[in-house]
Amino acid sequence: MVLHYYFHSLGHSRSKELKGNPITFYADIVNAMLIRATGQNLQMEYIRSLKLLDHVKLLEKPGKIIPSGDIAALVYLWNPFTIVACVGLSTSPIENLAIILSLYGACKRQAPLAAFGWVIATHLSLYPAILIIPMILLLGYGPDTPPRKLFLQRRNVEVGDNPPNDRCCEREEVVHRPEVPHIFSWRPVIHFLCWTSLWSVYVLVLCGISVKRYGGLWELFKRTYGFMLTVQDLSPNIGVLWYFFAEVFDFFRNFFLIVFHGNILFMMLPLAIRLKHRPCFLAFVYIAISSMLKSYPSVGDSALYLGLLGLFVNELADMQFSFFLFCGYVGVSLLSPVMHNLWIWRGTGNANFYFATAMAYACLQIILVVESVSAMLNHDRMLRKPLTELQDGKS
């Protein structure tokens, strides 16, 4: 599998190296490798937790657990969106690199790396700032596991099952088994926060020195983050905000700016509460939401979350509407350039046609996010089922 993957990536490289600057290409390769490493980490954790839960159904079928890291890396590399963003010399591979680096660092519990990635990603495009919640959860609880309640229930069931005379043996078993880290460990989190402040001070000082002559840091923030948050550029992109703000009445502009950016923030807390046992998936959902609602979205952002989606291929195996979503993505990515060409270059189309494709794309992303969250929650329920059955049988 590994060989297969490298073979592919080499072929990929050759197709890409023909064009332009290799930096984005190397960034993409590194992205894929980091995604793969993260995926392997997640998979190990997944198998371990399944073993802990004695989930016979899932464990015993050998073909059932797919190497999600390889899948995710391949999805990332072979995604047409990635190729387009790389060939178009977009900076999004580099932004993606920072995000993936922070995820990888958090998965490996390397606080400095995670902090560095998060600070750089925030510096580059601001929206990854919300990833600090999954980062803290990831460092505190460790990578994705089924809900911690299940482990407790499982243990209760085991304890209840065993007759009192076998208690010594059971204890030995507990000692043998690796303990589930279901307690929030503060040490890496504090490490992470320290490193975050260190890196951000470092970045700010460097920025301050370089923009000293041009009005200082405040000017920098106003011109970069302010430009992102106030949606000043109304050039067409694959999002919907450009047309919305080109059309909306001027006195409502501020209101809608707050509403749209608030939409990203509103869902943060509910998602964090519900998915706190799966920080990586939470990070994926956050990335998908922000790439959907951000002011200037690009296909590079989509490429990132579609690649990360591959990491959860085991958990999301029975996701609904996946075929519909696939067809929708293909359809939109074919129609959208056509409509853009008709409108901008030929002058025969209308802005509304292009906006319609952007709208369809936004809806597809919404369905993808909602369905993946729902599939993940169903998966957790599915894991609980045998346990509750056991409990019910017992009582």
Partner: protein, 673 residues
């Protein structure tokens, strides 16, 4: 009644006379500056392409504000302008309303009129202020509003910082506090001319301005009405006051129906014209308030050369023929009125011959004998106007609404051979060209894409560009300004500059009413700093110099304006705002609602489990409460059934909620007061 003795009276008289005399003597020394003056002049010039140029020049001078004996009052000088100058401390200002495009090929590009009175279409305004740097913008904004009120034009649109710019060196040498702005799409009409005429002491009731018959003026090919102020006071020259020059330049087509077209087609006979035929009116009298009111007929150098060539064959020297008949009639044309004098240009630069000016004084004419100058052509003549060294034109490259390029092409007119001698710099002749271009922010020019082609060959930018100043545009804040000094070899045939740009996308409110027509990019100014358009006419009495001729004498650089570019920008659907808002908000509601629904959804056994737990917890509370109520009522308490417990719990929950809401409402009410 007191009576003065005779000697006292005589003494008084003598004294007062002396005072008066001295005052007169004093006044005569500073006659130019101490009195308000007004003069009106009209220049007529036949153009090679069968048209006639009429250039009205009205000049008013106000005495310096310090020595003005009438305080703030004026006899002739328009008070509105004086107040405007005093209030905004305008050092220099020029406002022009133009319709049509000056044809540099056919109407000339090297004479004072073409370089200072050929203006870009629409409104052009520039002003230099005598205020500290930080106040210049505020003064400019106030000035635009005042002028827009004065001239019934939308000059106030120049107030927004996206429309004006501050050229540093390529536009006007004395800059720093200078602001420049244009409105290329301003429609110029009679409503702009009427307030302009109001500034003249005789309006259009008497004098040369009687000729300004609106239909015939606006029928012309080119129409430029200009107002130029200079107040040397602010520059420290206290001896002279405000000078207001109002000019109207019109290019008219004489009615050519009557001209018999018997000659061969390539040499067409010029149409004959007279003042009454081109303007529909005659000059009946001069404006009595004017110090001088003259009409000039100018024959260009090229035409004079042609005439002289023919005269040489006829051996008779044409211009030296002192008899008045010689001026009036010659083999080419007849003049209906005898000129008062003939002025020749001193040291004509262009080619062999210098231009000739026939001068007519309007003072002699009256209602009974109106002045109606006519020119009747007898045989066809072909001549050409003096040209600027390079002919500039500007156009757009590319298709589609995403990006494009601006190209400025400079083509040698072949006339610069005449000037070679004057401009040799260290045995390598260099032709210097200044380009000043302002581009609105929605055309996002990438200045690093500047490419220069000389004679069709691409050149390194650093080889050609001597000096460059670029201030890139900022969205919705400032336009992009480019100032360039280019140096070309003198034997250049053609040169081209290209700049690439992206087209911006605007908010629907920012589009003009007819958005699909496109947006106008103001003209670029191409000037030749080493070439000066000046014509110096030899006059007998140089003391009474005509203001127009002295303006022609001033050293002004040759300047030409490029075309206004029309850039089509992509338009959104203007009828869609409600649809877009509702559709987008629906999508976001879909996202928010469905995601929240997924997060809080419980299925089957979870639901049951939670219900059980809730029931357990709630029943305890409910038990407590029912116990309490039973005690209050004095009844014996019975443990309720579980369904009733849950229902009472619900009602309890409701009560708690109601109480909470009321509490919040009361608190809110309390705090908001």
């Amino acid at each position: 009644m007191a009576r003065f003795p005779r000697p006292t009276i005589s003494l008084f008289l003598i004294l007062s006379f002396q005072i008066i005399f001295s005052a007169i003597a004093f006044g005569s020394d500073f006659q130019e500056s101490d009195e308000e003056e007004f003069s009106e002049e009209l220049l007529l010039r036949p153009l090679p392409d069968l048209k006639v140029l009429a250039h009205f020049h009205f000049e008013s001078r106000a005495p310096p504000s310090l020595s003005n004996s009438h305080g703030r009052h004026h006899h002739l000088f328009p008070k509105a302008i004086a107040q405007l100058v005093q209030k905004f401390r305008v050092k220099e200002m020029e406002l022009s309303f133009t319709q049509g495009r000056w044809n540099y090929d056919r109407w000339g590009g090297f004479d004072p009129i073409s370089s200072s009175n050929a203006k870009p279409p629409g409104v052009e305004l520039w002003a230099a202020f005598d205020v500290p740097q930080y106040l210049v913008d505020a003064s400019w904004k106030n000035l635009t509003h005042t002028l827009s009120g004065l001239f019934c034009a939308s000059i106030n649109f120049l107030e927004s910082s996206t429309t004006y710019s501050a050229p540093e060196w390529s536009f006007h040498p004395s800059s720093g506090s200078l602001r420049y702005g244009t409105l290329p799409r301003e429609a110029v009409c009679t409503e702009n001319l009427t307030p302009w005429l109001k500034l003249l002491p005789c309006r259009d009731k008497a004098g040369l301005s009687v000729l300004m018959d609106r239909p015939s003026i606006y029928r012309g090919f080119y129409h430029s009405q200009q107002l130029r102020l200079t107040s040397p006071e602010f520059e420290g020259r206290l001896e002279s006051g405000i000078v207001l020059k109002q000019t109207l330049t019109v290019v008219l087509q004489p009615d050519s129906q009557r001209a018999s077209n018997t000659y061969s087609s390539e040499t067409k006979l010029q149409p004959s014209w007279s003042l009454s035929s081109i303007f529909g009116r005659k000059v009946t009298s001069r404006c009595v308030l004017a110090k001088s009111s003259n009409v000039y007929l100018q024959l260009e150098g090229g035409l004079v050369t042609e005439l002289e060539n023919v005269q040489k064959e006829n051996v008779i020297s044409w211009i030296d023929n002192v008899g008045s008949e010689g001026w009036r009639t010659n083999p080419f044309f007849d003049l209906s009125v005898n000129p008062d004098s003939v002025l020749r240009e001193v040291n004509g630069l262009h080619g062999s011959s210098s231009s000739v000016l026939y001068k007519y004084s309007v003072a002699k004419y009256s209602d009974s004998r109106p002045f109606d100058l006519g020119l009747t052509w007898k045989s066809p003549v072909v001549w050409s106007c003096p040209q600027a060294p390079l002919h500039a034109s500007r156009f757009l490259i590319g298709s589609g609404n995403e990006r494009g390029a601006i190209a400025i092409s400079l083509i040698s007119t072949g006339s610069n051979e005449h000037f070679l001698g004057a401009n040799i710099v260290e045995d390598r002749c260099k032709l210097e060209v200044d380009i000043f271009q302002v581009v609105p922010w929605y055309v996002k020019v990438y200045y690093h894409t500047l490419r220069v082609f000389v004679d069709g060959q691409p050149q390194a930018v650093t080889d050609v560009v001597e000096k460059m100043r670029v201030s890139p545009s900022e969205d919705k804040v400032s336009p992009g300004v480019m100032e360039l000094v280019l140096k070309f070899p003198c034997d250049i045939k053609s040169a081209a500059l290209t700049l690439e740009f992206d087209k911006g996308f605007l908010h629907i409110d920012e589009y003009p009413p007819d958005a699909n027509q496109g947006f106008d990019i103001p003209s670029a100014i191409i000037s030749f700093p080493n070439f000066h358009a000046r014509t110096h006419y030899f006059e007998d009495n140089s003391l009474k110099k005509s203001p127009m001729l002295s303006m022609f004498q001033e050293k002004s650089r040759v300047r030409s304006y490029s075309e206004v570019l029309l850039v089509p920008l992509t338009t959104p659907d203007f009828s869609m705002p409600y649809n877009v808002i509702t559709i987008t908000c629906t999508a976001f509601a879909l996202y928010f609602g469905s995601l929240l629904n997924v997060l809080r959804r419980r299925v089957g056994e979870e639901e049951r489990f939670l219900k059980n737990r809730a029931a357990k917890k709630a029943s305890r509370l409910a038990q407590l409460l029912s116990m309490l109520s039973a005690k209050i009522r004095g009844k014996k308490w019975e443990p309720p059934q579980s369904p009733s417990a849950s229902s009472s719990f619900i009602s309890l929950k409701l009560i708690v909620k109601v109480v909470l809401v009321t509490g919040i409402a009361i608190a809110w009410q309390y705090y908001s007061q």
